[in-house]
């Protein structure tokens, strides 16, 4: 069974801290190493930069072996190679899924082991 925590916030950087706090709480419940929580937050806020407002939703699903963070909607074509490189280093998996209205959703996968 996977547990899902969702949060929707206005797509402005001032709310990133609230998302980070939720992710820290989730990470603590899952007993993730603090490094891992930190990188999960870093990767998520990196993706939040591409949010295609007015709101952005973050769904965090905890499975037995991994945590998936789904973030969107994102501006179409907003991702660039530089940011992708950052995400690839932080997360174990980075997928982009099409959403409604030509928007994009990012799914970041983090293994529930130690920091990479």
């Amino acid at each position: 069974m996977s547990e899902v925590v969702s949060i929707t916030v206005p797509a402005v950087p001032a709310w990133n801290g609230v998302v980070e706090l939720v992710l820290a709480g989730l990470g603590a419940r899952l007993d993730l190493p603090y490094d891992r929580i930190d990188e999960l937050q870093l990767a998520t806020t990196t993706v939040l930069t591409d949010a295609h407002g007015p709101d952005v939703r973050v769904d965090a699903s905890a499975g037995p072996d991994s945590v998936d963070i789904k973030i969107g909607p994102l501006a179409p074509g907003a991702r660039d190679p530089g940011r992708r490189r950052v995400l690839d280093a932080l997360a174990d998996g980075v997928e982009l899924e099409p959403g409604d209205d030509g928007t994009t959703w990012a799914v970041l996968t983090f293994a529930r082991g130690g920091a990479r």
Partner: protein, 247 residues
């Protein structure tokens, strides 16, 4: 102005209460204040503010100067000026208001995080950190998150006066930068960073080193690496706003 002239002004102020003499001394020693303030420039506080608090330190030093000690005023004043600048950083460099209790807890957690990492050979969990400092997990999370509001540069690592921003072993990273710059468009973002931040970004994102490995290599705490990474990514985001070739 020679040291005899300075001494005459000190006598005039301290023995006779001549405030104009003190003003002259302040004026004379302001270049010293400026040079000390410049050592701490570029750390998120306006240099002019640092000069102002440094000047307060200078005035305090003049007020407390003891004529019979036989030392130069400039020698005597340096620790007071630097102390005032450091106090300013201590009081002011939290980007948001963080209660003192939380500041103290976050500092304890930062130390504990490094100690436990060394002891366990991995990054500790929030539960382990909370247990080690004797608080509950929510409190630990509060403090850990609050610590991110702290300006990232440590005052314990002042710039090298000869080579500002230079960190040991940097030359070894030249190839790393080159590869990163060749391989992606991060270059523009890297321009926004200072050398130490660039080094940490390269170690993390090019070499794939963990935060704890970087902390060990660079000789700073994990918390510090985390803060620098955040600050760097933030600075880089600012430079990466232009549309890029889609992946």
């Amino acid at each position: 102005m020679g040291s005899n002239d300075q001494r005459a002004l000190l006598v005039a102020y301290l023995n006779d209460g001549d405030v104009r003499a003190r003003d002259r001394l302040v004026e004379e020693l302001m270049p010293l204040v400026r040079s000390l303030a410049n050592r701490y420039a570029g750390r998120g506080e306006p240099t002019e503010d640092l000069v102002q608090v440094g000047a307060i330190g200078l005035v305090k030093a003049i007020d407390r100067f003891e004529l019979e000690k036989g030392v130069e005023l400039s020698t005597y004043a340096v620790p007071t000026i630097v102390g005032e600048i450091r106090r300013h950083f201590r009081d002011r460099t939290w980007a948001v208001h963080v209660p003192r209790r939380l500041k103290e807890l976050s500092m304890r957690l930062a130390r504990t995080r490094d100690e436990l990492s060394a002891e366990l050979g991995r990054s500790p969990t929030v539960a382990e950190l909370a247990a080690a400092v004797g608080v509950d997990e929510e409190e630990a999370i509060d403090a850990l998150e609050a610590s991110k509001a702290y300006a990232p540069r440590s005052l314990d690592q002042p710039y090298d006066e000869d080579e500002p921003g230079r960190v040991p072993g940097l030359a070894d990273e030249e190839r790393g930068y080159a590869a990163l710059e060749r391989g992606s468009v991060v270059r523009q973002g890297l321009d926004a960073l200072d050398e130490r931040e660039r080094r940490i970004v390269v170690l993390r994102f090019l070499r794939g080193m963990s935060q704890s490995e970087i902390a060990e290599e660079v000789g700073i705490s994990q918390m510090h690496v985390s803060r620098l990474l955040r600050k760097s990514l933030e600075a880089m985001r600012g430079r990466l706003e232009e549309p890029e070739v889609p992946v």
